[in-house]
């Protein structure tokens, strides 16, 4: 009998999910903090540069907080080729009784976003729907982050809510968009692509 399980919930063609190693990962993340979009996603406003030491402390605290919480999970994305850190994945506000959760993906630099962005999202969704057994996922972006939102649209996410003027940036109010993906939307996208095994 064929194994009904998908090939891997942790690994895709170029990247895999792994634990965070604060000592090893902090110096790499420090190089990404000069990218304004990354810094904005990484810390609550206002975005600001963080030193390697501050990042190390932050990563240690975040790992501890996720371990103590039953509604949060943290991962590193690493390259299959050499295990090099390429980004982070965080599930938060998971409500197990409702089978819903929120997600934040940190793409380690513009080049990773363009080259591997869809793979980052696809791997996160595979884990959310196949292992966490969630029914829906939500991500949030201010509406000037069109590149990221387009990537999520291509994986089946739909714009569901537009909170008017809920973000203030560069002297101007921007809408915050809630993008939602149901497991059924995601299955449709995969069937259309005929990539049942990711």
């Amino acid at each position: 009998m064929d194994n009904p399980l998908i090939k891997s919930i942790f690994k895709s063609q170029h990247i895999h999910l792994a634990g965070i190693d604060p000592e090893e990962d902090a110096p790499i993340e420090a190089t990404w903090m000069t990218d304004q979009a990354y810094a904005e996603d990484r810390i609550s406003p206002p975005a600001r540069p963080l030193s390697e030491h501050e990042i190390l402390i932050r990563l240690q605290n975040e790992i501890k907080a996720a371990q103590d919480s039953n509604s949060e999970m943290l991962f590193a994305y690493r390259a299959n080729l050499d295990d090099h850190l390429v980004g982070f994945l965080r599930f938060h506000n998971i409500l197990w009784n409702q089978r819903v959760g929120q997600m934040k993906i940190l793409f380690g630099g513009r080049e990773k976003l363009e080259r591997l962005g869809r793979e980052f999202i696809s791997l996160a969704c595979t884990f959310a729907f196949h292992e966490l057994n969630l029914h829906r996922l939500t991500v949030f972006y201010p509406d000037y982050r069109q590149t990221e939102m387009d990537l999520f649209h291509r994986e089946g996410f739909r714009d569901e809510v537009r909170r008017r003027e809920a973000h203030y940036y560069h002297g101007k109010y921007w809408d915050v968009v809630h993008l939602g993906l149901l497991k059924s939307d995601w299955n449709e996208v995969r069937e259309d692509r005929n990539d049942g095994n990711i």
Binding site: P45, P46, L95, N97, Q98, R99, V100, H135, R136, T138, R158, D159, E160, V161, R162, R163, R164, E165, A166, H167, Y168, Y173, H178, G180, L182
Partner: protein
């Protein structure tokens, strides 16, 4: 008009020693919790209720909704997740006894807290979310001036069915326009 006074109600601090027991009794009606929250409905202890009130007061504001007529406690309304960086806060409201629902107390209390948020806290927008089955609540929020900004599909599973969560928001400029129109 006083900052914390409406036509039917006034907002006062909740006396957690003398009023927690009454608030706690509202949670014994399972529907009360299921209109308020998407977490597992459970009956808190009086101590839990006191902690709940203190926690919101620490991070934001919670007020008791008291009848102007006889000063009885009808419900509570609070502002939380206040983000002064983006001038936004989230509002939540609950009316205790079912007999007091649908009598205009909630709408009146919401008008008072919105005025406080815009004129005292100087915020730019107030947000709320509401389950789609709480249709009388949605009508009340629309009366206050909230606009529907979208719905998260199938985000709550109750009584064997998926329901959407609606998101509504009111901007300071919407509220000012409405005030000018009313006056």
């Amino acid at each position: 008009m006083e900052t914390f006074e409406g036509n039917l109600v006034r907002l006062d601090p909740i006396d957690s020693d003398s009023e927690s027991e009454l608030i706690n009794s509202w949670f014994e009606d399972g529907e009360f919790f299921r209109l308020l929250d998407e977490r597992l409905a459970k009956i808190p202890t009086v101590e839990n209720t006191k902690e709940f009130i203190e926690k919101i007061n620490k991070e934001g504001f919670i007020f008791g909704i008291h009848s102007r007529k006889d000063l009885t406690l009808i419900g509570f309304v609070g502002l939380g997740i206040i983000n002064f960086y983006a001038s936004e806060a989230w509002v939540g409201i609950a009316i205790g006894d079912r007999g007091n629902q649908g009598r205009g107390y909630g709408t009146d209390a919401m008008n008072v807290i919105i005025r406080f948020a815009f004129l005292e806290l100087n915020l730019n927008r107030i947000s709320l979310d509401v389950f789609e089955y709480k249709n009388w609540g949605i009508r009340s929020y629309e009366k206050v001036g909230f606009k529907l900004e979208g719905r998260e599909r199938e985000s709550i599973y109750r009584d064997g069915k998926w329901w959407d969560t609606l998101y509504m928001g009111i901007l300071r400029k919407d509220w000012e326009e409405k005030r000018i129109a009313v006056n």
